[in-house]
Symmetry: C2
Subunit: 462 residues, 2 copies
């Protein structure tokens, strides 16, 4: 380690409290990308990030428009053309959060308790993206320069599957061009076991709606001769799975690349016991395709989940109607080489093939994302491993992630550079759930690891 990174790390430790207060300011903005009512908050979050980057001396930082929510972009190119350029991708948007979901404190009023920051977006992804901003600041405020060039590409549509990301990258390919992309938007099992993800699942997200009568009907006056749309929906969705918990959609598994023995051995290093999984989730029993281990099921195998159901009356007490319609949101996590659009076509065809003529069924695509897979013996991945050893204090595992970050496959395809997923969250941070949280200690260790990683990357060309 050099004096340069040592000074930066020291700075980051002495300014820890301020760094967190700044993160709180960002967490206070309810930048919920899934809800049109929060459009103004989205822009406010992007503007906050740009103002913050300008404050660090990134004079060309700017809010950049897309067809949807804007991108916050900033760059520091002071290391010069001889040094590598790292593109840091993150997202400032979050999923919805309401007190009624079970939050103990308001989701957009950050609270520090038991070494954790509680707030929607704390770990996914505001807290994690901010690590890189603070790492760069630590160099600039000590040496006045950093060992590599840094570009921040912070989008606002990750939680809605980044519909405008590909056009943005294509349009600004020169501006974004880099030698490696780093993303911190994933997690490790425990603080002692940092992980670098080399694989992510893709996604097909769709909506099914069943229509029956024109309006809700009085169930006493009309019930008995109308196919209740909620009944038709559950009859259809009740056929999504086979009795052995495999997905019943014809052709669904056709393009899945089988796991090799070596891969299964690697995955086994992070497998969970039934008890661990039950304790982490609270489920009464394990479920799924028993031909695969728990870790394989949740990271290396495709899924099909019902994310939401709605029909008729769900308020207190009885309401005696035959509802006019019923709907469901469905999403499938995909693995290589499943094509998200082909999977959508297969699910749509299957649902239409089992839909009865007594109702009208609509299937609509919401979003898709490709799966991604990188080798982990390349220099940029190995440099990351060294950064953890020096900056974090533990050797990382290379693992497969069960989630989907659409940008990963897109950046790899469009820019032809490796994407290194250095996640600083914990598996049980409760992202997308009530009481989302982020470890304060890991926030600060993440900053130090990011500082070292810049140095390691610079070393690849020294």
């Amino acid at each position: 380690m050099t004096l340069l990174s040592e000074s930066a790390r020291h700075y980051s430790r002495t300014h820890a409290e301020r760094f967190r207060q700044e993160l709180h300011d960002l967490l206070r903005i309810p930048s919920v990308s899934t809800d049109p009512a929060h459009a103004a908050d989205m822009r406010r979050a992007a503007e906050w990030l740009v103002a913050h980057m300008r404050g660090l001396g990134l004079e060309y930082a700017q809010v950049m428009e897309t067809a949807g929510h804007p991108v916050a972009y900033g760059e520091w190119l002071g290391a010069g053309p001889d040094k590598p350029t790292v593109l840091v991708y993150g997202h400032y948007d979050v999923v919805p959060a309401e007190m009624a979901d079970g939050w103990h404190t308001p989701p957009f009023e950050p609270v520090e308790k038991d070494d954790k920051i509680y707030a929607r977006g704390a770990t996914d992804d505001k807290g994690q993206l901010f690590i890189h901003v603070k790492a760069l600041e630590s160099y600039l405020q000590t040496a006045g320069h950093a060992p590599v060039n840094v570009k921040f590409f912070i989008e606002g549509e990750e939680e809605v599957s980044s519909p405008n990301l590909v056009p943005f990258i294509k349009e600004h390919l020169n501006m974004l061009m880099a030698d490696v992309c780093v993303i911190s938007d994933t997690s490790m099992r425990t603080m002692a076991e940092p992980a670098i993800l080399h694989s992510l699942r893709g996604m097909t997200y769709l909506e099914v709606e069943v229509f029956g009568p024109t309006d809700d009907l009085h169930s006493g006056l009309w019930g008995g001769a109308v196919h209740n749309p909620a009944l038709a929906l559950v009859e259809i969705l009740g056929k999504l799975y086979n009795a052995d918990n495999t997905i019943a959609v014809p052709g669904f598994y056709d393009d899945v690349v089988p796991l090799t023995a070596a891969e299964r051995e690697m995955i086994a290093k992070t497998d969970l016991s039934d008890e661990q999984y039950k304790q982490s989730t609270g489920v009464p029993a394990i479920w799924g395709d028993t031909n695969y281990t728990i870790r394989e099921r949740i990271s290396a195998r495709p899924t099909l989940d019902i994310n939401g159901l709605w029909s008729g009356w769900s308020g207190p007490g009885p309401k005696t109607i035959v509802p006019a319609k019923a709907g469901a949101k469905l999403s499938s996590r995909l693995v290589g080489n499943q094509d998200p659009h082909k999977i959508y076509d297969q699910i749509k065809s299957y649902i239409e093939s089992i839909a009865p003529p007594t109702v009208r069924v609509e299937v609509r695509l919401i979003t898709t994302g490709k799966a991604a897979l990188f080798p982990f013996d390349i220099p940029e991945m190995q440099a990351a491993a060294h950064a953890y050893e020096k900056g974090w204090g533990a050797t990382p595992l290379f693992t497969r992630g069960g989630g989907s970050i659409p940008v990963v496959a897109e950046i790899a395809d469009l820019m032809d550079i490796p994407v290194v997923l250095m996640g600083y969250g914990l598996d049980d941070d409760g992202l997308h759930s009530p009481n989302e949280r982020f470890s304060i200690e890991m926030f600060h260790r993440g900053i130090e690891t990011a500082i070292v990683y810049m140095e390691e990357l610079a070393g690849l060309r020294s």
Copy 2:
């Protein structure tokens, strides 16, 4: 017809406009009994009715407490003990209504258009109960007295299946005692075909909730090894019916009294064609147990409907969760001699028997109501038929109603008197639906018919 009833009918015609304005005042009160937020509106509606009855000279009219929403009670006993007493039952409570459901005008701001009054409660049951109040007023304001004694028993919990009705009747049996009970809370097919209902279906209303993980889970991090509660719910509910559209709950049909050939002949008089049913409801095709005609299915056979479904995310866009829970409201319309509690036990046992061990399932009873059946050759029924002939201008049909009015079986059981169901609504009034409406002409013809019925009842003892 006597001069007495002629004068009353004339009065009702000349005061028609005011009668409707008064009804509008009652319709403006959002007395939604299913929603605790409307408790104050419930009391306001009861107080409005009592004040109105007092204004007609019913000096003992009063708001009477129950364990739930209050009863509005009033009596006029000036006909004396030699004359029959008629108990008029009605309900001032309504089901929920929101603009978002598809109302063209605000549900609690009555609008008159195309000879109809549009408002929640217009036909169910504020408009219909008000007919009897205005019939009595028409006698009192002309002759100064009516041909029979009249008691108004107007409850506020019909739409939540009258949980406090039986205790109230038992406690006030002497006060309520009468020779016949009249209820206007039902409908006819067309204005030319008035109907007297001699049968109503009972009800068992329950809620099923499926619990999986403690909180909503990120579907990417955890999906694949947890039995998605929404999936478990649809798998369970998908087994409610057999392939021939009969209900799969073991024992469900055991106590159903078979329809006789004579009854089926009577029901056939009001049967609907496939086209008529499709046009009235908007469904693409008829559904149900093909061993029975449409009218039999919707009035004389038991049903099992899903009234509501909820789970996870139903807002705009995607949310990639495995929901913590999923739920449904279910209700069964029952016929003689099905026992509502036995049916609940059967449904609960069936659901529990098919629930997998990978989730926790809760089944909860919400309400029950008994089915009712009366002979239609008794004097009180025949007097009602004559009242329609003279007051309405058409001979009524005696029909079976598919809906449930819990009070009917209870009054019959507890007071040992016949209940005559003289409904002044139309089948397509849209009760419990958006844009509920009540025919203005039928409102006024109903008042005249009610006036004549009082005279016909008096004649039974003359």
